[in-house]
Symmetry: D3
Subunit: 284 residues, 6 copies
C-alpha cells in the first residue's frame, strides 16, 4: 500500500495550492472577545460539518466542483498577544495575494479581519469594504484597548477613510457610534436595504466582503457570542450574496461563529452554506 | 481601601431606590408549572446576561442611561405554598406603588402576575390589562386548583370584569376557553393585529402590560416551558412595544423565560432586550 | 383495586383498535443515516411530549377528542438489516389496511416510508404521493446501496412512475437529481407554491402524504440530522395542511425528527402539532 | 389483527396486577424543591431507559424475569397543593397494601416518601426505616413550611419516634440537625458503615427503605438537584443492597433523580440498576 | 509560497506511512447499535481533542515523539450493509499487516473489531485475544442477526476456539452468556484481577487487545451508548496497560466512545490517553 | 420603604469590608488559555451556586457563619492585554494586604495567580507556595509567550527560587518540565502524598495555597478546560485541606473552573465546597 496522511479540508476545497484561485484559511483567535468566547473553534468544526452539505447550490445554480479551491488549514497563534496574531494574519494574507490568489478567511472573532483587510488594502487601495454585522464595531477602544472586536471597522476606517465602507444589518451599538457613522460610513440599520445601490456604485472596483455572521437573526444563527435578535433571515442573506455576484471580490471573510452555543449544529450548517455561496460568487 | 459588597443589577438599573421612578424585582416562582419547570431561574440569569446588551435602543432611539431605575433583587418564596407567594408579591408591589414608583416584575411562571396585577388594580381601578401570550390562560382551574399558571387571566377577570382585558398572540387553549373569551375579553388569535385600535381606545387610562414571552415564536424564544410554534417575530414584538409608547403604563411584567431550555443564550438576550425596551417606554 | 399496565399513547390516540379509523405506529429505524443518526428516538419522545399540547386546534377549529384514533406503539427492528426492516413495515401497514383503517407512521429516517408507501400503493394503485422535504431524495444509490434515506423517493418512483409524485420545499441535492426531477416528478424548489393546483389536480383520488420535517426551516425545527437553512415557516406548513384538508388521504407519515439535536424541545412540539393537524384532516 | 394500546413499563415489570407481589408506581412531584427542580421527570425516563439494562444481575445472581412485578404508571398531581399530593400517595399506597402487595415508588422529590411511609407504617407499626441520603432532611420547616423535601425524615420521626430510623451517607445539613440526630436517629456520616449491625438489630421486623439517590457520589450520579461531592460509590451501594437481602422489606422508594442534569444518561442507568437490585431483594 | 493541504492526525501520529511501524485508522460505523448510536463520531473527535494531551506519559515515562506512527484517517462505509463494512475493515487491516506494520483501530461500535481481529488472526493463528469490556458480547445473535455489537466476541470465538480469549471487567449480560463463558473463555467479572497471570500464560505469543471503553466506570467515561456503573477506574486501566507492556501485541483497537453523550469532553480525553498509552506499549 | 441595591455575594461572605479578615474577589480572565476557554465565568457562577450549599462543614465541624468574610466582586479586565490584567490583580491584592486582610481569589485561568502570589510574596518574602494541580505549569513560555497558563509556576519560581514550592497531584507536562522540577521544586506525581511532611517543614512560616481544581479527577470535576483523568478524589482533597488546617495561610486562590463544560452543576458544587473549606481553615 501507499497511504497519505489524513487530510481534512472544507467540502470541495480539495485542489492543490498551485492550481487554485481561491485560498481558504482559518484564524482561530478570540482573545479580545469580552462576553462569551469560542469562535476559535469555528474553522475546525466547519471543515467537519461541511460534509453534511452538497457541492451544488440551487440558489446560484452553480457547483463547487467547478471551482479550483484550496484549504490551507489554520494559522497557529500565541494566545495573549493580540498584535502578534494580527501580524501573522497580515503576512499570510499578503503571501496569498502575491501568488495572485484570492484569500477567504474563517474567523475567529471579528478583529482577525483587520489583519486580512489591511493586507488586501495594500494591494488594492481603491478597495471598498462591505460589512455585514449586527454591531457597529466602530468604537475607538474597548476598556482602553484599541485592538478589539468592538472597534475593528473603526480600525479599518483609520486607513480606508470616508465613503469606502458600507455597513448592513446593524442593530446594536452605542449611540455615539451610530452618530459617527452618519458622517463616515454608509450604515444601514437592521436590513440590507440599499445593497443593490452600493453594488452599482462600486461597479468593477475591487471589494472586500466581511461577514460577521451575527447579522443573521439568532433564530437561524444562535451559535455566536453576542446574539442580537431582530436580524436578517437566511433567505435575505442568500439574496444579498446573489446581489453581489457581479462584484470584483478581492478578499472575504466569515467570522464570529462560536459553534458550542448552538448544539443543534444549525449554525454550523448556515456558516458552511454561506461559505459555499461566497466561494461560488468569488470564483466565477 | 473602602469597598462595598458586590452588587448585581440589571443593566442600567443602577440608581438608588429614592431617586428612581421605575422599580424592578424578580418573582422566581414556578410552583404550579405542570409541564416543564424552570422559570424560577429567569431573573437571576437576566441580570447577568443583560451585560451583553447596549443601553442604547436603535428601535426607540432612547438610552437606558437616561432613565432612573432601581433593581430590588428577588423576593424569596417558600416553595409549596402558592397563596403565600402571591401575597408576598402583592404586598411588595403595593409598597412600591405607595412610594409612587412604577413596578416592573420578572417572573417566574405567569401566575405571579396575579399578585402584581391585583396590587396595581387596587390603586388604579379603571385600569386596562394588555396581555401578550401564546395561551389563553382562561381556565377556571387546573386539576382542581384555581391558582394556576393556566388560569391567571381568568383570575384577573374575576376582579377586573368584562371589556378591560386585551389578549394578543393567542394560539393554544381549550375550545371552551376560546368560546368564553368571545364574550368577556378582546382576544386576538395568532398575532398582534388590533393593538393600535386598543391603544387608541385605552387613551390615557392606566394600563398594566403583562408579557408572557411565549407569545414569541419559539424559533427566537425557545427558552420556555411550553413552546408553541406559530408565534410572532421579534420585530413584531418591537413594533408592538413602539405602538404602546404613548400609553400610561402603571405596571408591567415579563414572565415565563425558562433559561435552561435554550442553552444558546438567545432567549435570555431576547428577554433582556424586551425588558430594556419596556423600561424605555414606561419611563418617558 | 384493579389496575392496568401503564399505557403510553400519543395525545388523543387513546381509543381501542377496533373502534378506530386512524392507526398510528412508530418505525424507530435510522440505520442508513449517513450523517447524524437519532431519528430512532422520535416516536417515543413524541408520545411523552404530546402532553404539552392541547387537543384543540385553533388553526382548523377541530378537536382530537372528536377523532377515533389508536396508537399501536413501535415496531421492533433488528439493526443492521435494512431489507428486513422494510419488510416488517410493509407487513404491518398491509394488515392495518386490510382492516380498513388508515395508517399514519412516525419515523425514523425517511427510508422507512418506502415500506409504508409500497403497502398503501398496492391497495390504491391510482394513488398520488405528496412529498414535503428539504432534500430531493432521488439518488439511484448512496455509496452503492440502493436502499438509502437519500434515494427513498426514487425507489417509490420505481413502482409509481411519472406524474404521480409532487415534491415541495426542496433545496438540497445533486445537480443531476434536480435535472432528473424535471422529467419525472413535479418538483417545487424552496416553497410550497403550487400545492393548491396539485390538490385540484388530484381531486378525490387517493393520496399518500410523506412529510420529512426538515422541509421546515431549522430556526423552528433544528432537531434533525441534516438541517438545511432556508426552509418554510411553521405557519406555511399549517397553511399547507389546511390546503390538503379536502384530499382523500389514505396514508401518511412524519419522518426525520431527531429529538436529541434540539435540546429545547421545540422540534418535538412542532412535530407533535403537525401530527395532530394531520390526524385532524385525515379523519374528517 | 387484534392490537393493544401501547404499554410502557419498567424493564421486567410486565406482569398483571393480580399475579404480582411487587407494585411499582411513580410520584412525579417536585413542588417543594427549593434549588433545582426536575425530579418530576424521573419515573417516565426510567421506564424508557431501563431497556438499556439486562434483567440478570451478576451482583445478586438473580433475574428479574423470575419476579412477578407490576408497573402501575404514574399518579397525576395538581401542582401547587402539597398536602393533596401527599394524600394521593398515601391513599394509593394503602390500597396496594390492602391487596397484600409490596409498594415500590419512584420519586419525585424526597417529600413524596412521606405519603408512602405513612401508609406502610399504619399497616406495620413496629416498622424500621432505613434512610440513604446525602442530606439530614431533619429540619423542622423550610422557610416556614413544615412539608418540605428538607424535613421529610423529621416528619416521619413525628410518628415513628426515636430509635427506629437509621440514616446513612449523610454529609450535608445544618449543625443543629446533626446535633438533633444524635439523640433521635442513628445517623452515620459520609458512609454506610454500621449497616450490617443495623440489619442484625432489625432482624425480621418489617422495614421500609428510602433511597435518596444523592447519597451516591455525584461522579456517578450527577442527575440530581443538589449534588453533594464526597458520596458513596456505586459498588458501595451494591454492597449495601446485598447486605439488606435478608431483611423483611415491606416498602421502598427511590427518589431525587432529576434526569435533565445528567445529559449523558449515566444517572438514569444508575437509578434503573438500583431499582432492579431492590426489586430482586424484596421479592425473594 | 508552497502550501500543503490541511492534514489532521492524532497527536504524534504524524510520520509517513513508509517509515511507521504503527498504523492508526478509524472505522466510524455504528450500524448495529441497538440502544444509543454515535460511536461513528469517535475517530474524528479523538483526532481534534488529542491536541489537549501531552506526548509524554508520566505513567510509562515514555514519549510519543519517540514512536514512528502513521494515521491513515477513516475508512468510508456504506451505512445499512453490515457485511460490506466488515469486509472493508478486514481488507484494510490485511494490507497493513502485509506491509509488516501493526494496526491500531478506533471504532465505531464493537462489531468493527471482528473485521480487524479476523485479519490479524489469519496472519497469527496462535494468537490470543485480551478483551476489556463491561459486556459479555457473547450472544449468538441479536434479534436474529448474528453480526451484532452484542455477539462480536462470540463471532471471534467461532474461529479462535476455546482457551484463547481472556475477558476482563464484565458486569452485564444474559445469565446464559455468563454460563457459556465458564466453559469457553476466561471471563473475570467486574475487575482486571488475573490479568498478570494471563500475561504470564501468554508469554511471547502474539496477542490482540480489544478495549471496549465501557469497561471504565461511567463516572470517568460517560461518553458511551450503554453506560454500566460499577466499572474499573482510570488508574486501574493505566495499571492494566502497564501490566501488558511485555506482551507481543500484533493488533489492537479502542471502541465504543460516543463523544456526544459526554459534553464535558472528559471521555474524549480518557480515550485519547488510553490510545497514547497503548501506542507506547506496542511500539517499544 | 427603604430598599438597597441587589447584592450578590458568595454564601456567608456577607460581612462589611471593615469588619472582615478574609476578602474574596474574582479574576475572570482566560485570555492565554490555549485549548478550551471559559474560566472567566467561574466567579459569577460560584456566587449563584453557593446557595445550594450549607454554611456548616461536617468535615471540619465549623460554620461559615462564624467567619467574618467579605466578597468584593470581580475585577474588570481589558481582554487582549495580559500584562495589564496581571498588574490590576497585583494592585488589588496589595491593597487588601495593606489593610491586614487575607486575600482569597477565584480565577480565571491559572495565570491570574501570578498577580496575587507576587503581591503576597512582597509582603511575606519567606513565604512558601503549595500548588495543587494536574499540570506542571513549569514551561518557560508557550508559543513564545512567557506569560501563559502553562508557565505560571515557573514565573513564581523566578522570584521565589528553589525549595519554596510544593507541587501535588501532577500528572501532565513535558518530559523536560518533570526533569527540571527534580532540581527546583518539590513535585509529587499523581497524589498528595508527602503533604503532611510539607506541612511539618513549613511550620508557622507564611504560606500561599494555589488550587488548580483540575488536580481533582474529572469524574468529580469535569468543568475545566483540559481535563486529566487519574486525579485525586474529592475526599482526598478534603483530607488535604484538613491537613493544612494548622498552617499560617496568608493568601489563597482557586482557579480553572470552567462551568460550561459541566452542565450538571457538579463541578460548581465541588468548587464552592472547596472554597468554603478553605475559608474555614484560613480564618480560624
Amino acid at each position: 500500500m501507499n497511504l497519505f496522511k489524513n487530510v481534512s479540508t472544507f467540502l470541495g476545497f480539495d485542489n492543490e495550492y498551485e492550481e487554485s484561485k481561491l485560498v481558504l484559511f482559518g484564524s482561530p483567535f478570540d482573545g479580545t472577545t469580552s462576553f462569551r468566547p469560542g469562535t476559535r473553534f469555528a474553522s475546525n468544526v466547519m471543515r467537519s460539518e461541511s460534509y453534511g452539505l452538497e457541492t451544488y447550490s440551487p440558489y446560484l445554480d452553480k457547483d463547487l466542483e467547478d471551482v479550483k479551491a484550496f484549504d490551507a488549514g489554520d494559522l497557529e497563534f500565541p494566545f495573549g498577544n493580540t498584535q502578534k496574531v494580527l501580524d501573522e494574519i497580515y503576512d499570510f494574507t499578503s503571501n496569498i495575494l502575491k501568488d495572485d490568489k484570492t484569500p477567504i478567511m474563517i474567523g475567529g472573532e471579528h478583529l482577525v479581519s483587520l489583519g486580512s483587510i489591511k493586507a488586501v488594502y495594500e494591494k488594492y487601495n481603491d478597495m471598498y469594504l462591505i460589512h455585514f454585522d449586527a454591531h457597529t464595531d466602530l468604537r475607538d477602544d474597548y476598556l482602553g484597548e484599541p485592538l478589539s472586536h468592538a472597534s475593528v471597522i473603526k480600525r479599518c476606517w483609520d486607513f480606508m477613510g470616508d465613503n469606502k465602507i458600507y455597513q448592513f444589518g446593524i442593530r446594536s451599538g452605542e449611540k455615539a457610534e451610530f452618530e459617527w457613522a452618519k458622517q463616515h460610513t454608509n450604515l444601514t440599520k437592521f436590513s440590507c436595504e440599499g445593497l443593490k445601490e452600493a453594488v452599482k456604485t462600486i461597479g468593477d472596483k475591487p471589494v472586500y466582503i466581511t461577514i460577521d455572521l451575527d447579522i443573521l437573526d439568532p433564530s437561524i444563527f444562535s451559535g455566536t457570542g453576542t446574539p442580537e435578535p431582530g436580524g436578517i433571515t437566511f433567505n435575505e442573506m442568500m439574496e444579498a450574496i446573489k446581489t453581489m455576484e457581479s462584484l470584483n471580490i478581492v478578499g472575504a471573510d466569515i467570522v464570529e461563529l462560536a459553534p458550542q452555543y448552538d448544539t443543534s449544529g444549525v449554525s454550523n450548517a448556515v456558516a458552511c452554506k454561506i461559505l459555499r455561496e461566497m466561494a461560488l460568487i468569488i470564483e466565477k
